[in-house]
Symmetry: C2
Subunit: 553 residues, 2 copies
């Protein structure tokens, strides 16, 4: 059985989930995968272009359709995917789920870990697929859709492996009653809730989908994967690899189905509202996310990651330049299209204390501007950090942000990409507003736009950041202070609205990054989303403990 | 600290929660509590009658009110309780919760275990209070509201104690990056969701309320306890004991408040809809329960136990008389007013196989009737098993059930109670229907009414029982079969609709009983309720894991 082959991987992942020290099963360095892998991956990716996607085991298609466009070349990928009716998807998923549910958790864990071992051989082609659908840089595409996503999937497998064994499979219960006793044989079964649906987004089509997919699968539920129509290829490669491993191990490949659709005929609502869909994982905008949350019922569990407005609180720092370099990178990385990217920078009007004395608000603002300019204009760093803007609507919104009337500290502009001359690029726009301009900063400005908000004091900054997170949600909060009492105050205030805080990040670590096996991604407690990668709740809501008892004469 | 005093109790309870063998911290035999306890408890109970309830630490009352009536004497208890405005309750609860949340889980576990140790000294007065509000017999009142309820509370404390320590409080994370490394200090905090509300019912005012109360408290949330206006005293004694222990240990007694109300001015909706109420536990009828479930949102977690329609499937037995005695007791116990009591008995028209050959459907029906008559007419057993009917409406509904047109196999009737001549008693009514009479058996007939449903076969019985549980919910299912394949078929079918099965119960164990530390009460997966005493989900939805990170230079 595959569980014997992979027991060591699973045991280490279970341990890592508990300990939360640094752990990675899949190295994030491309070189770890051999010299041949990068060129092979690129070739394989190029071979997929302009054709029907060939690898899925799903046989019934009503139609074939594809509408992906590379943000780097602005050319269609020309790949088509099978369009399957929602009834067929649900029917096949239910049938497959019944069989999948019969497997022991160990057998499921073994097969699912084997899928990850197979997926790693596709990391480079997935990287190119991610790059040319999302606009992420090649390195981010490789890491986020490859090893980091696989680690997040393994984290979910391990959490499920443990939770499903929380109660014993069999137990004898004997109650002493004076001279006699009553004896029962008991069994405890974790019964899968039903069919799962995972709805993906256009910016992180793999990283954000794998946790829900593997959480569904480890708990015995079949899953339908509905990607964003503009970012199908990366997850299609993953689903095909999963189906292949399922089939090789005598399982029904329909246990994990791809449900491609088109912008003109979307199927997410039909699937989500289907009475047989018991579990929904969603990543994307808040409006649709709120609709998905409204479908929750005792028979339908939903797990959402929507949008938040992330804050940075600047109180006091050791080295202002190191801080500004770090923050400039955070706002430039993937052109601000990460759900973890900071947007609102709260800075006291009295300025910021540093090891070399206080510097004024205006100096802080100028240093921030300078740090961004230095980064985006650095030919070795700029284009690679920014990547490309995923779609035209985001670009237009970002351009419009510079014309809202708010004071413009830095205007965004296209940044030349040496490899792709036509790439849709744009550097960060920085606006300055006051604490009264709530209409401007109380909304998510998706993409490369940041706001500096001048406040009365750090207490005022905390109050505004806390209020934003409470009202609009937040996935991250960056804070800089050299004062332990202020640190505790910030932690308590932001944690009270279920927002984690990253303190004093400089150097090679950024607030945007959440590491598998250690950082929880989204707390699930504020309007940015109701679920968390991967806490126990992310798992236990996907199955029901049922206990049977038999009287022993 | 109290945690040192009680560490052993908590450790044993954590172990019992996992192992699910027989375990009880609080013995169910009245004699275990000493010779003085029973008379003292009775005297203390009698001293409470006819006066304002004196023990609560809550100081602000708008009014005093009470409307409890004993189902045994039909006389008012004459006890009044403080009526507090919902705004005051929420304000005081929020303030107390902020302080309670600061305690470590170990400190909370220590204090909460101490409350249980104090409550056990009130077991006999709680027993009398339960008897004279719910109509339970004295022995059931003692066990259900005393040791069994305390064990369920300890189970919740232990599950919380473990879940809140799932992640480490502090951890160092160091990521190797070639020649350098990045180091972060991380903290993981389980942040309480907010204020809890526990809405009680009139039949099990303590047993059904304690799990939610202690689950809220162990996870750091203050709790408001809103009992049924006809069954306040039992839980008022418990709340007062909790408040006393809180105060003795320097905590705010408002961490656990009693919110009494009246039938004419109910406050459950106002409290449940209050935006500051983040957690609701509810036990009671399905109509109000469905309303409570409709309030669920990412900011409000709800936990319900509503009504179900429980089935018994009769296929084949060893000893039909032993089975019928067991089932007669199950339907008579507390006059069928337990949410776990069986209602629909599915029996094949071809009869039931026994060790002594097959007996016909009619013989089965007659044996069931005879077993009930023997029990209720046994002067040593009848009145004590039946207890009293909690309220007049239930009695009238039961009487009306005999006049629906369905064939009456046995008519219920008052049963003399030696101690209380005027007690509201009624023995079970047994009706016979066909599988087509879905209008009759597809509803909960709360109280002492049972239906025998003649089916085509055991497969047909399974199909009907499964459909009932899926559509209307079920908390228990009793099944009798000597055939392993049939047993597996019943388990699979009922488990697929998240209903546990108790097989072949005879002797001193009944399908109605769910033992703490071993049996999950309500699965949470079908319409009978969305929560389960006490699985991990019952705990983890009450707090949010939030992780902070600090960069280490």
């Amino acid at each position: 059985m595959l569980i014997s082959k992979h027991q060591n991987i699973i045991d280490k992942a279970v341990k890592a989930n508990h300990e939360r020290t640094f752990y990675a099963q899949y190295p994030e360095h491309p070189k770890a995968y051999g010299e041949e892998a990068p060129p092979q991956g690129e070739t394989t990716f190029k071979d997929l272009l302009g054709k029907p996607f060939p690898r899925l085991k799903q046989k019934i298609a009503e139609n074939w359709h594809g509408e992906e466009v590379s943000p780097y070349t602005l050319q269609p990928l020309g790949i088509t995917y099978p369009i399957v009716s929602t009834d067929e998807l649900v029917k096949a998923g239910k049938r497959a789920g019944q069989r999948w549910a019969q497997l022991s958790v160990a057998d499921r864990a073994g097969i699912l870990t084997e899928t990850l071992e197979k997926i790693q051989h596709h990391f480079f082609e997935i990287a190119h697929a991610t790059m040319h659908t999302t606009g992420q840089s090649f390195m981010m595409s490789f890491q986020a859709s490859g090893p980091h996503a696989n680690d997040r999937a393994l984290e979910a497998i391990a959490m499920g492996y443990q939770q499903l064994q929380h109660f014993p499979e069999h137990q004898t219960w004997e109650k002493p009653m004076g001279k006699i006793s009553v004896k029962l044989e008991k069994t405890f079964r974790p019964i899968p809730k039903g069919l799962g649906l995972v709805i993906g987004c256009s910016t992180f089509p793999v990283w954000n989908s794998l946790p829900g997919m593997y959480a569904d699968l480890i708990t015995g539920n079949a899953v339908i994967v509905k990607p964003h129509p503009k970012a199908i290829l990366p997850i299609a490669i993953v689903v095909a690899a999963i189906q292949q491993v399922l089939e090789e191990n005598g399982q029904d490949p329909y246990t994990c189905q791809l449900a491609a659709d088109s912008s003109s005929q979307p199927i997410a609502k039909t699937l989500a509202e289907h009475p047989d869909v018991a579990l929904i994982d969603y990543t994307g905008g808040s409006a649709f996310g709120n609709y998905i949350e409204s479908l929750a019922s005792p028979r339908k569990s939903v797990f959402t990651e929507k949008a938040g407005v992330n804050s940075v609180i600047l109180d006091s720092v050791k080295d202002i330049d190191a801080v500004m370099q770090n923050l400039a990178f955070s706002v430039s990385l993937y052109s601000g299209q990460m759900c973890t990217a900071p947007q609102n920078f709260f800075i006291p009007e009295s300025g910021v204390d540093t090891a070399n004395g206080r510097i004024s608000y205006d100096e802080v603002a100028q240093k921030f501007k300078a740090a961004i300019e230095a980064l985006v204009n650095n030919p070795k760093m700029g284009a690679g950090t920014l990547g490309a803007v995923q779609n035209e609507a985001t670009l237009q919104r970002v351009k419009a942000a510079g014309k809202t009337g708010a004071k413009v500290l830095l205007n965004g502009a296209p940044v030349a990409n040496e490899e792709y001359a036509g790439a849709r690029t744009y550097s960060p726009t920085v606006l300055e507003v006051t604490a009264n301009d709530t209409k401007v900063f109380e909304q998510e400005l998706f993409g490369p736009v940041v706001l500096l908000v001048k406040t009365n004091s750090t207490d005022h900054s905390i109050e505004l950041a806390r209020g934003m997170a409470d009202k609009h949600g937040a996935i991250t909060c960056g804070a800089y202070t050299t004062d332990d009492a202020v640190k505790e105050k910030i932690a308590d205030a932001m944690n009270s609205v279920f927002t984690p805080v990253s303190f004093n990040f400089t150097g090679f670590i950024w607030v945007n990054q959440h590491a598998a096996f250690s950082d929880l991604h989204v707390s699930g407690g504020n309007p940015a989303g109701n679920a968390s990668f991967t806490n126990p709740e992310f798992i236990v809501k996907r199955f029901v403990w049922v206990g049977n008892r038999t009287y022993v004469d």
